[in-house]
């Protein structure tokens, strides 16, 4: 059924508006981060980038960045490994409890993260583990490993199982099949999942809130400052966190494009 011209225009306008709306708060944060005044009020009269200098010089900030980064890297590695195999169990292999397994993987995504964080805190305490940035890794995995599994599974659904069978018929062992056929075929999914895992862990707030003990991640530190009163460092660090995510996204796209052109160049040789 053809949608009328007016309806189409209205829908497109609505889409653009929704995107603007989604990013409006970040515009405010961006402005606030370059305002010179210690007490923010719009319109901004004097602009400065001194807060960025101060933030980057600060010892607290560099330790926050290190903590967040370390957690995100370890979470990415673990969630990719379990997600890779999980995706095969999810989409590729026909086994008895596959359906149940699929639903089980989805369940943590349907749970409020703050409540999960508190439950994890009690669980750590009751077995005598003192929460630190290491326990935050465990906490992030509850939400991020199902997501990597799902993303890699999308790829695993699309792939042709007969390729694996052919390799096996020619005498390849299960391990060789995995290494030489399955992994390369799923690689794009693994890269996308890794990107998601890193960025979602980097920006995660509700799971970190209760599970980092005396350590603090960047979003968590920002939250503590937000509820205790305004500091010009809050929008600045918020912006830095966003810019770091954007830089990683951009780098990933660049690598993707380079890899593609490299492949094409090899193909034409």
């Amino acid at each position: 059924m053809e949608t009328g011209r007016t309806t189409r225009i209205v829908l497109y306008a609505y889409g653009v508006l929704a995107i603007c709306f989604l990013y409006l708060p970040l515009v405010s944060v961006g402005f606030a981060s370059v305002s010179q005044a210690r007490y923010l009020s719009f319109p901004i009269r004097r602009y400065t980038i001194e807060w960025y200098g101060e933030a980057l010089d600060s010892h607290t900030v560099s330790s926050l960045l290190t903590t967040s980064f370390t957690i995100a890297v370890i979470v990415t590695v673990i969630s990719l490994v379990v997600g890779f195999f999980g995706a095969l169990a999810f989409a590729r292999y026909q086994w008895r409890y596959r359906n149940l397994f699929q639903k089980f993987i989805l369940l943590p995504i349907f749970f409020p993260q703050a409540v999960l964080g508190l439950a994890l805190l009690i669980w750590f305490n009751s077995v005598g583990i003192i929460p630190s940035w290491k326990t935050a890794i465990v906490a992030h995995l509850v939400w991020i490993s199902p997501i990597t599994t799902l993303i890699i599974a999308i790829r695993a659904y699309a792939f042709d199982a007969s390729l694996e069978e052919a390799a096996r018929d020619m005498g390849a062992s299960t391990w060789t099949v995995l290494k030489e056929v399955t992994f390369p075929l799923l690689l794009p999914g693994v890269v996308a999942a890794g990107l998601f895992a890193f960025l979602l862990s980097w920006g995660n707030f509700p799971l970190s809130l209760f599970t980092t003990g005396v350590d603090s991640t960047l979003p968590e530190w920002l939250y503590a400052k937000m509820v205790s009163g305004y500091s010009p460092l809050v929008p600045t660090l918020g912006m830095l966190s966003v810019l770091a995510s954007l830089a990683i996204l951009f780098a990933a796209f660049l690598v993707l494009i380079l890899a593609k052109s490299f492949k094409q160049a090899r193909g034409t040789e």
């Binding site: 379990v82 169990a89 292999y93 509850v142 979602l200």
Partner: protein
């Protein structure tokens, strides 16, 4: 091949199953166990009683539960109305623009929700982006809408927008164009098509999106703390207080269990409605 498949399936499911057993099942189990312990103990080696649940009923905690569930319901309803046209556009009209919307929405998810909510505080506060420029350019003074109940609902709608949008778009994509065309040919009005074709056929997406937004909003904390000030104490806030300032783990656990039971049963309904093989495109 069948036997091998079966074995490999179990083996590859094992790592993530172990991870989720440690990070998901074990904490839920511990919370359930603590919830039946007597007040203010820190070990599970006590004679169980159900006093924490009695406290939940007697001390008015149900009020914050009602607030949380009420606001979650309101935000889910609003999300459905707000997301429907956009989801429809994404599924049926936009073509390439769908990719743009998808990327824009997904990228926004990579920014911590507290930074985005803080951005709304800066946008809406007295002397904030909107009020400040309105006054500077037009001389109009605006009351700040912050620290009220509606603004918390607004925050929930904002944060959980993607969780309604994507399932809804998926649901609408499953409505066959032929059915809509046939209804239109037979003279059905636009509203009738919406009511009798689109809504019922997109139902799986609607159910999943609604359950997901409701469940996440019911346990939300940051929206009420950052945007709502002290306008209302949400249930997740009570749980946090019981665990931290109150140092009463059994009470915190009992409160968590109440929420977990509500959320968990809805989640199980939601999850069982999703046919993953169909959505994610199995081709065999």
């Amino acid at each position: 091949m069948e036997g091998l498949d079966r074995k490999l399936g179990v083996f590859s499911a094992l790592p993530i199953f172990i991870v989720l057993a440690i990070t998901f099942l074990a904490p839920l189990f511990v919370v359930a166990a603590f919830s039946i312990m007597p007040a203010k103990v820190f070990s599970l080696a006590n004679v169980p009683d159900f006093s924490a649940y009695a406290t939940f009923l007697q001390q008015g905690y149900w009020k914050s539960l009602a607030w949380s569930l009420g606001m979650a319901f309101a935000s889910t309803l609003l999300l459905f109305i707000v997301c429907w046209p956009l989801a429809y556009g994404m599924a049926k009209v936009f073509g390439k623009f769908t990719l743009v919307v998808t990327i824009a929405v997904v990228v926004s998810l990579f920014v911590s929700e507290n930074i985005r909510l803080f951005g709304w505080v800066l946008t809406l506060m007295k002397g904030g982006l909107i009020a400040g420029y309105l006054e500077a350019w037009f001389g109009v003074e605006m009351e700040s809408p912050l620290y009220t109940v509606p603004i918390i609902v607004f925050g929930l709608v904002y944060v959980y927008f993607p969780f309604m949008l994507f399932p809804l778009a998926q649901g609408i994509a499953m409505v066959p164009d032929d059915a809509r065309q046939a209804a239109a040919d037979l003279g059905a009005s636009r509203w009738r098509i919406l009511w009798e074709i689109d809504l019922p056929l997109a139902a799986p997406g609607i159910v999943v999106g609604s359950l997901l937004s409701f469940v996440l909003a019911a346990g939300a904390l940051a929206e009420s703390k950052l945007l709502g000030g002290q306008a209302v104490i949400v249930f997740a806030d009570e749980i946090e207080t019981a665990f931290t300032y109150g140092q009463n783990w059994p009470l915190g656990s009992a409160l968590s269990m109440v929420l977990i039971l509500i959320v968990g049963s809805l989640a199980i309904v939601g999850v069982s409605k999703i046919d993953l093989d169909a959505i994610m495109g199995r081709k065999r």
